[in-house]
Symmetry: C2
Subunit: 314 residues, 2 copies
Amino acid sequence: MTSFADRLSSAVGKLASPVVVGLDPRFEQLPEPLTKGVNPRDRAAVSHAFAKFGCEIIDVVGPMVPAVKPQMAFYEQLGLEGMQALKTIVDHARKAGLLVILDGKRNDIGTTAEAYADGLLGAESAWGGDCLTVSPYLGNDSLEPFVKTAVARDAGLFVLVKTSNPGSGQFQDRPFAGGAAGGEPTTLYRLVAAEVERMSAETKTASGYGAVGAVVGATYPQQLSELRAAMPHTIFLVPGYGSQGGTAKDCASAFDTNGLGAVINNSRGVIFAYARKPYAEKFGAAKWQQAVDAATRDMIAELRAETSVGKLIK
Amino acid sequence: MTSFADRLSSAVGKLASPVVVGLDPRFEQLPEPLTKGVNPRDRAAVSHAFAKFGCEIIDVVGPMVPAVKPQMAFYEQLGLEGMQALKTIVDHARKAGLLVILDGKRNDIGTTAEAYADGLLGAESAWGGDCLTVSPYLGNDSLEPFVKTAVARDAGLFVLVKTSNPGSGQFQDRPFAGGAAGGEPTTLYRLVAAEVERMSAETKTASGYGAVGAVVGATYPQQLSELRAAMPHTIFLVPGYGSQGGTAKDCASAFDTNGLGAVINNSRGVIFAYARKPYAEKFGAAKWQQAVDAATRDMIAELRAETSVGKLIK
């Protein structure tokens, strides 16, 4: 096997595409062909629609993107049937040759962290993810068991560093007393970033990147730029593109000079493109898969035009 | 319905018992009667053993404790069958009249946070928890959707504030620049605590406590005492008792003067008591249920002797 960082970098390079499609189904936004006759309170039927929706998206975007990112909350919301749908989607994505980033933002300590990592990471695990998002609040001793398992299984992690939400600064941006000697005060996100970069450097493989990535929002381009410079061995998972306001230009500083080192997630802007400008008029619900195709192609083109990803085109 | 805080306070008062039993099964530690003939790599068989273990513990401790706390990681680790075992245990606990605290340490933003809350909180939800643990790293806008759903469903939350692990201070105890005017510097855990207390005060019901509790470790008695004073409307969920080193004396300051305002979790010390001093010799694996019974009774007695919980005895 090859490390997650190397597999992701290789796929991004081959496709000249750093787009991750977020599989975040919401029943009320699914296209009509999938919801017709389905009672929204029937968890089994809704789960079936979610599985079909996810698998069809994978069929469309599979040849164009390196990875998909199912948001676990939307499947867990439906109970056992929802989790079955998640498993169906993960298996379908792997068969299509896509990397699967499970967005669970898990965190816990000691053997509990080990249990999460064991269940979620690796082809032979119960859920079969290639990568998992994790939260750092509990400290390094909560991250270490995740890192150990990730490395052993050639899987990866993305640790929340600077998140894309409007309120992310409340705790993450607060300046600490003292700070760097003679420099500006260190904030929580910088402190977490330093730990992540250390763990990435320690686990780096051929691509130059390590097993521990960082979540940094496209909605904060200044921090994205600052962190890119501070974290040379860390792959970024960048949420906030499109619906949340982040643009291709905002993402430019997430990449290294070779067009690698970052993947950019888009969920609603791709999967529900059929109901959004400029795709709604042309495609509509009946041709929702074509809207997914067009939105994905457009996003790839924007990133190639506005960032160093353009250099990857053969 | 009655609010979670009132139901929990009422149960603790009636039983004169603030003990929460953590249902954290680990296959290699299960008593032999449950593991005999089970292949540890057979997820369905292990899940079946987990369900039986959890339900039998509930049968033993049901009359003595207000709540159980299944750790979701150990069930998720086993895939769909494990999640089925979790559901079986939750349903069994509810039927036994116990409150169920789902320990998932979930966190996300906006509609994703709503999806977690919708799926996990309330009798009619897919998973049927009365309460959920959540992580605050993303900021208040990630906590608010959880609070809204919890209040609407008479459910509760426990937000990670000062966790019990050795490394919890790495981020949580770091002093911020500035801090309270003229006072000592504010730390991350104090900042989170202030937000939690505000949300608790805004949602308080007859018991005087609100829907948003705080996780504060028994392993940090000084912070427990400080936070009790600073958070008069906040119920504490206190991990770290027993195996992690916390004692009944350490927990004394978690309670208000009436013996309420806190619940103390014990996982391994109760559920695996059969293999531990002083219960191993007397009971052993064959009588593991009696060891659970004895360990629970002893913990209740210790807390009644060393804390204001003693005042609740009729």
